[in-house]
């Protein structure tokens, strides 16, 4: 048998096993796949949660704002610390130390500051997205060969030209990877924020379904959220590929 066939078999076996096990157990805790499909249909036809679209749009808005801020701040801090040796040596380690702290410890403070509405989710998404972008810029600058910059300078390239023609292509690979990771983490940050406490957004619906033990609806909502998460990553990976083609 080929690997692919075995994979399909393992996948099918898992689904069948889950179905059988779930049917034999408490329906509030275990949801068989056969119960997920009707719940998903009810969700998508807006019967179980009529305002699903509004919640989804709010979550997407929060992600967009959080990511936009993370990109702006991440690039600014990354280039600021990367292009200035003294600043980099002084503040780089402080940033790295903060990165070692599981970000969720900041969330209660953010919730206190910004309240239960969108602002605290945006702040948390921003915080999660900011670090990988900053670190990618720093790594990218570090891996740019100083010889290339020296040669470009020696041939009379201006700072702007050196940056655009030498540094940016050399670091693009790392930078784009960081931007992609940043997006993934900003998305997770917003959703974690919503699940830990919110009144609106897809995370609040997940919490609602969980709180009422509407487990099939919960699974359906999780699937919809997964689609949102995976599709942002697919868009990011397409952009990443294009950017990489540009340098190659």
């Amino acid at each position: 048998m080929t690997v692919r066939a075995l994979q399909v078999a393992v996948g099918l076996l898992a689904i069948v096993a889950w179905e059988l096990a779930a049917r034999a157990s408490n329906p509030l805790l275990y949801v068989p796949p056969s119960a997920v499909l009707p719940a998903l249909r009810d969700l998508l036809t807006l019967r179980s949660y009529p305002d699903l679209v509004a919640h989804l749009l709010l979550t997407i808005q929060e992600i967009a704002v959080a990511y936009g801020m993370a990109v702006a701040a991440g690039l600014a801090v990354g280039f600021g610390l990367g292009l200035n040796r003294t600043l980099g040596r002084a503040y780089g380690p402080l940033l790295a130390a903060l990165y070692a702290v599981p970000a969720v410890v900041w969330y209660p403070s953010l919730m206190l500051f910004f309240g239960l509405d969108a602002a605290s989710k945006i702040a948390f998404g921003f915080l999660l997205g900011f670090f990988p972008i900053t670190l990618a810029v720093l790594a990218g600058i570090r891996q740019t060969s100083p010889h290339l910059i020296l040669v470009a300078r020696a041939y009379g390239a201006s700072t702007a030209t050196t940056f655009r023609k030498v540094m940016l292509p050399a670091m693009l690979f790392t930078l784009v990877g960081g931007l992609r990771t940043g997006l993934a983490l900003a998305v997770i940050g917003v959703i974690v924020g919503e699940i830990l406490g919110s009144k609106n957004g897809i995370g609040s619906l997940i919490n609602h379904a969980y709180g009422l033990s509407r487990t099939p609806d919960y699974v359906a909502l999780v699937l919809v959220t997964l689609v949102l998460i995976v599709s942002t990553d697919v868009v990011a990976s397409l952009l990443e590929r294009r950017a990489r083609k540009w340098t190659a």
């Binding site: 130390a97 403070s109 999780v222």
Partner: protein, 248 residues
């Protein structure tokens, strides 16, 4: 700038930041309900210190348990999947999918299944730590130079010797790197469960301080858990150095 100068710059920056924060808070520019002055935060250590330390201890015990589980299962699973190419090829997409799946989405289900308290925190923390360790160990075993294995075999090394003398030393850097990554993830997972559905532990302490609008105490507790996790990561880094000596 000299090393000493860098350290001085770091200290001066932190001092200035704290000074400005203190001045701003004292001048009443920000509401002390949300942004307490550093002096108030320092004072809050005396009131919240015992509770926070107790919570931290509780959290660290759960984290250590989750960590032990994820290291044993992750390294063990990684060794198996890394050594048996056929199984690895078939299961790889499932491992990657589970690794990539945002764990926050299954958090409500874990709590529904395992209730409040210690067990869901350990399970959820172990889920966070397990996958990065599994994947990193798996690829490290896969990438062990096959020549080394062939030579050891042709000199008559048994399976035990092969693993102990060839494969294990070869994968030590990857294992240690994955263990460093894993501990932060375990701590993250435990803290999230405690915030979401805790009755004890640091995550619960942080959450209830935020809900009670006790900002100064919240900041003090956040500082405490941050310092603890930075200390853990640094000491694992030191251990890493030691082990790399052993290897060579």
């Amino acid at each position: 700038m000299s090393r000493l100068g860098i350290v001085a710059l770091q200290i001066v920056t932190l001092a200035v930041l704290i000074g400005v924060w203190e001045a701003v808070a004292r001048a009443g520019v920000v509401d002390p309900l949300f942004v307490p002055a550093p002096s108030a935060v320092a004072l809050a250590f005396t009131t919240v210190g015992a509770t926070a330390l107790g919570g931290l201890g509780d959290t660290l015990v759960k984290t250590a348990t989750a960590y032990a589980l994820s290291v044993v299962l992750g390294v063990g699973g990684g060794l198996v999947l890394g050594s048996v190419p056929r199984t690895r090829e078939v299961l790889n997409p499932f491992v990657i999918a589970l690794y990539g799946m945002p764990k926050i989405l299954v958090l409500p289900w874990i709590v529904l299944l395992l209730g409040f308290g210690t067990v869901p925190a350990i399970v959820y923390g172990a889920m966070h730590g397990f996958f990065p360790i599994l994947v990193m160990v798996m690829s490290a075993v896969r990438d062990v130079d096959p020549q080394l294995v062939t030579v050891a075999r042709s000199y008559g090394a048994g399976t035990g010797q092969l693993y102990w003398k060839v494969i294990l030393p070869a994968i030590v850097p990857a294992v240690v790197a994955s263990m460093r990554l894993g501990i932060v993830f375990c701590l993250l997972g435990v803290l999230i469960v405690e915030m979401f559905a805790g009755i004890r532990g640091m995550g619960y302490v942080l959450g209830s301080l935020a809900n009670g609008f006790r900002a100064a105490e919240l900041f003090a507790a956040t500082a405490l858990v941050s310092a603890a996790s930075i200390a853990i990561v640094l000491s694992l880094g030191a251990l890493n150095e030691r082990l790399s000596h052993w290897r060579s």
